[in-house]
């Protein structure tokens, strides 16, 4: 019962975290920033807008499928609300599934902006999804378990620092932080996937994105700091990534594919030497 309440509280939590994120970014920009509840007002306003949508089954379904993916994440992580103990890989699949769904929506919209966004997203997915799954696997091999409910390692970063670093780098892509926001690069391709969406479907897509972002923060806290600190660490990770987003001019040459590959190799070598990973 308490888990259901918890999962329900995470939805407004995701929106407030987004409000906090905008505030942090604004402070970094030397601006006052919007009110804390601005994302709420945005979504409420979008929900009240006239429905004007291109008639295509896939295009209309995509927002609901994306929202379903987000809710599914809430149900299995960090506490299994539905009472079934899922394998950790299921969460990885759901993360990937949500991005794939966006690609379908953008292609079905037949907008050139959506088309270019899909191509860029596909290229990016080829790069980062593998790293994401490797990170998940390494953390769970280190713990010696296969489900979130049994994961009880605390402060994993002390034992596997390189994997923790790799996880933080991978989250740059999942959170679409510059320079990994190429599929939403407004200067060339407008809003990318979401160019053709408006009104209620756009509000639903927004909610799905916000929940996914919150789940990413929680997942990082969960893997790196342990179950107890997962929720406490979420706002701290949010602030970290907001600061990284605003200082992208300084670091973005560091965060390249090379960094990912080198970190992944180092992580494997470290795990093999320390004996955590039997070859």
């Amino acid at each position: 019962m308490i888990e259901i309440l918890y999962a329900l509280l995470l939805i407004p939590g995701a929106i407030i975290i987004e409000g906090l994120r905008r505030k942090t970014v604004a402070r970094m920009h030397n601006r006052a920033g919007p009110p804390l509840l601005q994302p709420f007002y945005d979504i409420l306003k979008l929900l009240g807008k006239e429905k004007f949508i291109y008639e295509n089954a896939i295009f209309s379904l995509v927002p609901y499928l994306a929202l379903f993916c987000s809710f599914f994440m809430l149900l299995i992580f960090p506490f299994s609300v539905i009472g079934f103990d899922f394998d950790f890989l299921v969460l990885g699949y759901v993360f990937i599934l949500q991005d794939t769904i966006y690609i379908f929506g953008a292609l079905a919209s037949r907008s050139p902006f959506g088309m270019y966004a899909s191509v860029r997203e596909l290229l990016l997915m080829l790069g980062y999804e593998i790293t994401f799954i490797i990170v998940l696997c390494l953390f769970f091999y280190n713990a010696g378990v296969y489900s979130f409910q049994n994961y009880d390692v605390e402060f994993a970063f002390a034992k596997i620092p390189i994997v923790a670093l790799l996880a933080i780098f991978t989250a740059f892509v999942i959170l679409r932080i510059t320079p990994y926001d190429v599929m939403n690069a407004e200067a060339e391709i407008g809003a990318g996937f979401f160019s053709e969406y408006s009104g209620t479907p756009l509000a639903i897509l927004d909610i799905a994105e916000l929940i996914k972002n919150l789940m990413t923060y929680i997942l990082l806290g969960f893997l790196i700091f342990g179950k107890t600190y997962a929720l406490i660490m979420a706002p701290i990770f949010m602030i970290f990534y907001a600061i990284m987003l605003t200082s992208s001019a300084r670091y973005s040459t560091l965060v390249t594919a090379k960094t990912f590959i080198i970190l992944a190799i180092l992580a494997f070598v470290h795990l093999i030497i320390s004996g955590s990973l039997a070859v």
Partner: protein, 386 residues
């Protein structure tokens, strides 16, 4: 070859004003770029026709929100000799101060937008924070932040006293270290260098062929600046001689550096002019003036390049006014420089010319009571007449 059509505009996030660029792309490589204008014609020329010089000046000053002083200076350069007026040196120096401040403000705004185009929003905000100091200085000097509207025929609305000059110099002191740091970022930052270098190449030959002006031409190695080649008003004074910033690379990066360096050159000119202004000297009061019938032209160096005004006066009223803003000279190069670039680089290349579309839109020909609008593409390619 089958190509996909990728539209940029008339409304698009990377464009601040309406212009339509139709890209024929193969994958993400641009095979051919066409562009079309005519979405924001405001009729400034027609507005001024039939009005007295003072009223026309009022309309001319509002042609552009960013370089309004340059338009008023070009107009005054044309009509003041026709009305046989010679304003005192202090008025010329004051006009120079406002024009150079405007150059700083225009270049800072442009640099911010360039940073925004490649996703560096923080840099955009930092540039705009510095620009805010310049706008404060405008407020103190002229009473208006954007449309200064401080010129009148033969004089200015306000005389700069000690208080205004001290405020201005203090603001310059505030922004100088910040702008130096921002220029270093523009020059050295790897992201900016990799996005700007070797993109939107304009060789010296192409720049000469197309008749490009302003920082765009100077970044391609053409030593042309109206302030230097045809000095006017206070620029003709020996101490205020302009040293144009020239680079030879001809890419978007060179254009950025030229503009960043011009900001420092403008600051030097303002400081020099402030030394020469006598705070206690009174400037003449506004008088009603009568201009001879006839035509004349004048040109000044606006932040974006050469700004050209042609005026015909009849019965002390404007009979014909023709403005050619620098963007019209520069915008023609789009179809040439966008070829063989990637879609990713389009915003950088488009913005690197610093287009000011609404000021430029005035190409219309009335023929057989039927209006037809010439696009710049047609002008460039040569329109067929029947």
């Amino acid at each position: 070859m089958h190509t996909t059509i990728y539209p940029i505009g008339p409304q698009h996030p990377s464009l601040k004003e309406p212009i339509f660029i139709k890209l024929h792309v193969d994958g993400s490589r641009i095979i051919k770029a066409e562009f079309n204008l005519g979405y924001a014609h405001r009729g400034v020329e027609k507005c001024s026709e039939g009005y007295l010089l003072d009223s026309a000046l009022h309309a001319v000053q509002r042609t552009c929100g960013i370089c309004s002083q340059c338009h008023s200076m070009a107009f005054l350069r044309t009509v003041e000799p026709m009305a046989n007026i010679q304003p005192p040196t202090k008025v010329y120096l004051q006009r120079l101060v406002i024009a150079e401040l405007e150059r700083i403000h225009s270049h800072l705004l442009w640099a911010g937008i360039m940073a925004h185009e490649i996703g560096l929003d923080t840099l955009f905000m930092y540039y705009l924070k510095q620009r805010e100091h310049v706008l404060d200085a405008f407020d103190e000097l002229t009473g208006n932040r954007v449309h200064h509207s401080c010129d009148v025929l033969g004089t200015m609305k306000r005389s700069f006293g000690k208080k205004e000059i001290d405020f201005l110099l203090e603001k310059l002191q505030t922004i100088e270290p910040e702008i130096t740091e921002l220029r270093r970022v523009m020059e050295k930052n790897e992201v900016i260098v990799s996005r700007f270098k070797k993109h939107g190449m304009i060789t010296k030959k192409l720049a000469t062929e197309l008749g490009l002006v302003g920082p765009v031409a100077r970044a391609s190695g053409i030593n042309y600046d109206v302030r230097q080649n045809d000095p006017y008003m206070a620029y003709a004074i020996k101490e205020l001689k302009v040293k144009p910033v020239i680079r030879t690379e001809g890419d978007a990066w060179a254009r950025s550096i030229v503009r960043c360096d011009e900001v420092f050159e403008s600051m030097r000119l303002i400081r020099k002019a402030c030394e020469m202004i006598d705070p206690n000297e009174e400037i003449p009061k506004k008088k009603n003036l009568f201009a001879k019938d006839g035509s004349g032209f004048g040109r000044v160096e606006a932040p974006r390049g050469e700004n050209f005004h042609f005026v015909t006066i009849k019965n002390n009223k404007i009979a014909r006014l023709k403005l050619r803003t620098p963007t019209l000279a520069n915008v023609l190069s789009y179809s040439r420089i966008l070829e063989n670039e990637s879609i990713t680089d389009v915003p950088v290349i488009v913005m690197s010319l610093d287009p000011c579309i609404s000021c430029m839109e005035r190409v219309a020909v009335i023929k057989n009571k039927k209006e037809e609008i010439w696009t710049s593409h047609e002008l460039f390619e040569g329109k067929k007449h029947d």
